[in-house]
Symmetry: C2
Subunit: 338 residues, 2 copies
């Protein structure tokens, strides 16, 4: 592959001049510029990003470490991140942590080795030493969706409290009073927060959330299935189940079907994170929708601000309830897709 030297030779100038043309530095004569451009053309020259990065100490690359690519919520997030990054002149390298702290560390490490300019993370756990070190060492970082408390890093996320209140109100209005939740891992902020918000909302209706109505999940479908089975084994099973993410809701649906029960007739179901497929399930599922795309874009903007020396802002966007048919006859509160 042709290097800058080849171009310089072809154009009859020095490598310095070629470099100046390429970075359109002002002091290059029009003739020299033209000759260089012609040489670039005939050789099909493309600058070596590796060499450039070594010299300039910037890769124009962002790292994104995501908890689970197979989860449509994160897929959409990743897509939005890539789009915004591209618009700002950055590339993105993705790492899929699969909800495993060791994999998360693996990706953070290789990303750091590659000297990415900044890191976007939705942490799987409470924060590994590695990640804490990276923050301390000054690596530009932004948390998205989830975060690590006590670490001074901007956070871009959705606030679901309001939407969860709306959900509980919706369920209560439909006559459900024994409500259960399938929680995410306690190590994640989203895992804890959604339970708390749910509990708080219940309190407003004088409802309680007994221990055996809190299922412990890990944001994967299988755990949703197990938690739901335990609910259904209870002497007095819940009338409604709220899954803290879309995959666990799917698992719950499986478990309910396996017992020959029907949603919403026998039991109501709702989920956190809305995804296109929820319109097409049987029945369509009521969910709390995050502004996923906007979250991804805001996270990139915050990170790039930090990288380029501007002050990054934390951002919290509201989530909203999307009512479908999985909790019973839709009330006229907030209609949306059928």
């Amino acid at each position: 592959m042709a290097s800058i030297k080849d171009v310089a030779a072809e154009a009859g100038v020095s490598v310095a001049t070629v470099s100046r043309v390429l970075n359109d530095h002002p002091s290059v004569s029009p003739e020299a510029r033209a000759r260089v451009l012609a040489a670039v053309e005939t050789l099909g020259y493309r600058p070596n990003a590796v060499a450039r990065s070594l010299r300039t100490d910037q890769t124009r690359t962002l790292g994104l470490v995501i908890s689970d690519v197979m989860n449509p919520y994160f897929t959409e997030l990743a897509r939005a991140v890539e789009e915004e990054a591209r618009a700002l002149g950055y590339s993105v390298i993705f790492g899929n942590a699969d909800e495993r702290p060791d994999l998360q560390d693996h990706h953070v490490r290789t990303l750091l080795d590659r000297r990415i300019d900044g890191l976007l993370v939705s942490p799987t756990d409470g924060g590994s030493p590695l990640m804490l070190d990276a923050v301390r060492a000054g690596t530009p970082m932004v948390f998205v969706d989830r975060w690590i408390p006590g670490v001074d890093v901007p956070v871009v996320r959705a606030d679901g409290r309001r939407a969860i209140r709306d959900l509980v109100s919706h369920l209560h209005g439909l006559g459900h009073s024994r409500l259960a939740i399938i929680a995410g891992p306690a190590a994640t902020t989203t895992g804890r927060e959604r339970v708390e918000a749910f509990r708080d909302a219940l309190r407003a209706y004088d409802l309680r959330l007994p221990e055996d109505h809190i299922g412990q999940g890990d944001f994967q479908a299988e755990s949703g299935r197990r938690a739901t089975e335990r609910f259904l084994d209870l002497p007095e099973p819940p009338e409604a189940v709220f899954a803290a993410d879309n995959l666990m809701a799917l698992g719950a649906l499986d478990a309910i079907r396996a017992r020959g029960m029907r949603v919403p007739d026998d039991i109501a179901l709702a989920a956190f994170d809305d995804i296109p497929w929820f319109t097409h399930t049987d029945p369509p599922i009521t969910a709390v929708a995050q502004p996923t795309g906007e979250l991804g874009r805001a996270a990139v903007r915050a990170l790039v601000d930090r990288i380029e020396g501007r002050a990054p802002r934390s951002v919290t966007l509201p989530a909203r309830l999307v009512v479908r048919r999985s909790c019973g006859e839709p009330s006229p509160v907030r209609r949306s897709e059928p």
Copy 2:
């Protein structure tokens, strides 16, 4: 960040010795090795992958340019690719082409600029000059899922002919004889092949595939909806619709619902590409399932073979029919999930 020089100074040896320890070269004394390792530890040194790549001319990175990340089929493929690559000591940089040739070119270009060791592509179109140049220049490349005819690059893909024959047999057995297909873009191999396989299978039952029973789609949901609407507007609409990918099947489902019609009672529906959600739709959708994970892994192995100087093989794996309820009462041919 500490460099190899700092480590050398700390350990009281030359950078050459440090490098030898790091790449466990045999001729280093145990004492020197120990001192270097200690220095690495105290400084928290990590080798700069950028510098290493510049020198060795290899990045241990693979590029994957995918047609559409939001499509669960490609998401699963991407995940499998990353896993296998990681197992072989490579990282993966993803590019999402969104079915747009210009975006595909953008990603190929930046990937090439970053001097990735090899490229995995599922081409959106018939092959841009850029991609052809890259092949000619000797960039290790492997096509996955789709390919470009006449280009000498190994192809890893699934063969759906057999499964499509099974599908047509299934539909025929249920009494459907007016069958329609929503095709993918003619610029893609998968877009063309699935139509041909379908037509061939129909012929075996003395069925024809008239022009107005071939809808032109682009592998996106919206196009599936439009094509289906056109089918339903026909004086004599088809009794069964086969969508050439999962997203278009979703669009078809929407269109059918919007007319107040029911699947499979009023019209049968089947899809190419099976995804977990198809178990949960109303009704569960009959689909042709590709061995997606195995495809991704095989593609990586072929590419790494090529990179490391072994002869890469093209791989074709069979797809299989998964019968659910969207075409009518399930026949006892090949049952699977409910």
